[in-house]
Symmetry: C2
Subunit: 331 residues, 2 copies
């Protein structure tokens, strides 16, 4: 039992799925059983050529051979449909990140997993995920205070896609950049009120289609509701070669800061800060998903069933070490 490896499946093989494949390699207590895809399996090229790639329709037949399926599809269309289907067949972990829809998604996953005696940990990654834990714990420890979340510097897939949908745009990358003055104010313990515009700056690199009008496109970007209208935005037009050369990495990061007060008259300030600096956003997110796969497996082995979030998982369940080892080495 102690030596039996946790058998992992990956559903969806984009950047995140590939990241999970690489993360599982770093875990001696896990083995990758297979990758499931909606594409023709022969078109998917895993990092390790010996890994089996199957069509997602074959997943059900692998039910007894996979302990945890890590769902690497997107939150917009993939997960709402695949999530509940796969949660009936496997313990799952996913990175569902459409904030407003989390309560509804939780309910549907809870029903699916619960009805099969399985566990599904949803919304795992860094935000939602590790950032959420830090927001939550910092608030619990310092009830009198304010939470601040800053993202970046990093590529926002959603904002890059929004620019790409504009007529005349061939390709684009958008960086979300925290505004240093705002960060400094928060770190100083001032608990400032910050508007959307005060916190982040949006830096866009755009490749035009031939003949497209840069002035019109810049205007369309800067006035786009929800995505850009509320922010200071810079638009730089570059060539396709430049975009590939300078902007193909996927860095990200950010920080969660709580500024709280203690003492008889709230005279003392405590600043709790959690920060990430990531060369590869998808690889790091994948590493978090992989650690939570270990937790999902343990929780289900204990007899727990239904949907969970990172808030419900004892930290110890993420580690391959025993409770006694953790107390001795890391407490």
């Amino acid at each position: 039992m102690g030596m039996k490896k946790i058998r992992i499946g990956i559903s969806g093989y984009g950047n995140l799925g590939r990241g999970v494949e690489l993360a599982v390699r770093q875990c001696p207590d896990m083995e990758l059983v297979g990758i499931f895809t909606r594409r023709p399996p022969e078109t998917v090229k895993p990092a390790d050529k010996t890994v089996k790639v199957m069509h997602i329709d074959q997943a059900e037949s692998m039910r007894d051979r996979i302990d945890v399926m890590i769902l690497c599809g997107g939150s917009a269309t993939d997960l709402p449909e695949q999530g509940p289907y796969l949660a009936k067949l496997f313990n799952t972990v996913d990175s569902f990140d459409t904030h407003a829809k989390i309560p509804a998604y939780f309910e549907s996953m809870d029903e699916a997993a619960g009805s099969s005696g399985l566990i599904s940990i949803i919304s795992v990654g860094w935000d939602p995920g590790l950032f959420s834990i830090n927001r939550m714990m910092a608030e619990a420890v310092l009830p009198q205070g304010e939470n601040y979340t800053f993202w970046g510097k990093g590529v926002s897939q959603g904002h890059s896609d929004a620019i790409r949908r504009i007529d005349g745009v061939r390709d684009a990358k958008q960086y979300t950049i925290p505004i240093q003055q705002a960060v400094d104010k928060v770190r100083s313990g001032m608990s400032p009120e910050l508007s959307t515009r005060d916190k982040h700056f949006r830096d866009c690199y755009v490749v035009l289609e031939e003949g497209a009008d840069p002035a019109r496109i810049e205007e369309q970007i800067k006035t786009m509701p929800n995505y850009f209208a509320d922010y200071e935005t810079r638009v730089t037009f570059i060539t396709e070669e430049e975009l590939k050369r300078e902007h193909s990495a996927m860095p990200h990061g950010g920080f969660v800061i709580r500024s709280g007060k203690t003492g008889e008259d709230n005279e003392n300030t405590s600043i709790i800060e959690f920060s990430l600096r990531l060369d590869s956003n998808p690889e790091f997110t994948a590493s978090v998903l992989t650690a939570y796969a270990r937790a999902a497996w343990r929780m289900q082995q204990e007899g727990q069933t239904g949907a969970r979030t990172v808030f419900d998982v004892p930290p110890a369940y993420l580690s391959p070490k025993s409770a006694a080892e953790l107390r001795k080495e890391l407490l």
Copy 2:
């Protein structure tokens, strides 16, 4: 049930006990039932004069009126003795921090609490405590990497006491200060090997007894094994008035950094950093203990018994909010 407050007792009323009294005030779901002390109760002056102060021998008679006893004694002599005694009577939370003795202390608390059907969460605070969680989770997420812990700038009680024990010293304060160059190297993702001397600097402010020899005392401090011999140490002699005026606050803090690698050839770096900046070390530690008192109560209500550490506690148990509220507001 939803409205019933968690009834808290405090055992030991130094800086930490006082901090717990103030932290409980910030928690509308808790009430402070009483403070227990080994001193004559009438000599103890709580921040709130209406709070009942009792001798520790009366604790047993309050068994049915307290849900969680927060142990605010020291790790050297108080907790090893009081801990197991009180763990037989109450759910407890403590800040036991003698690293080498944690495994033995855990066993004795596990037996005491377990035999009475109660929960004891040990070694709660920021280190051990929140720092431990971050070391542990960061290692689980990024198995290929290194953990670094830096403390300070802050007052080390143990080192200040060690100086005070030297013949000819009237009073002293010692600040532990992280060495910025080492911190910068770690943050850059270099994963340096750092010796004790590379990481922290020790800054001492000493008040002499009349007629004491400063050269002899400076030498004794700088060569003291374990405490100072392995560090760069600075000794400054000051007056008693200056010590009171400039060095009576109890700030502390520090950071846990993990520098880890992901990718096919470990080509991508991720830096996870958790940091604290605290005006009042005891008040912050008390705030952490108080949040974990909530968790202890919930876990025991669920039927769990025995000793636990921060590694065993699901984050959600620290918050007064419901699971649905947490998902909606903080995930």
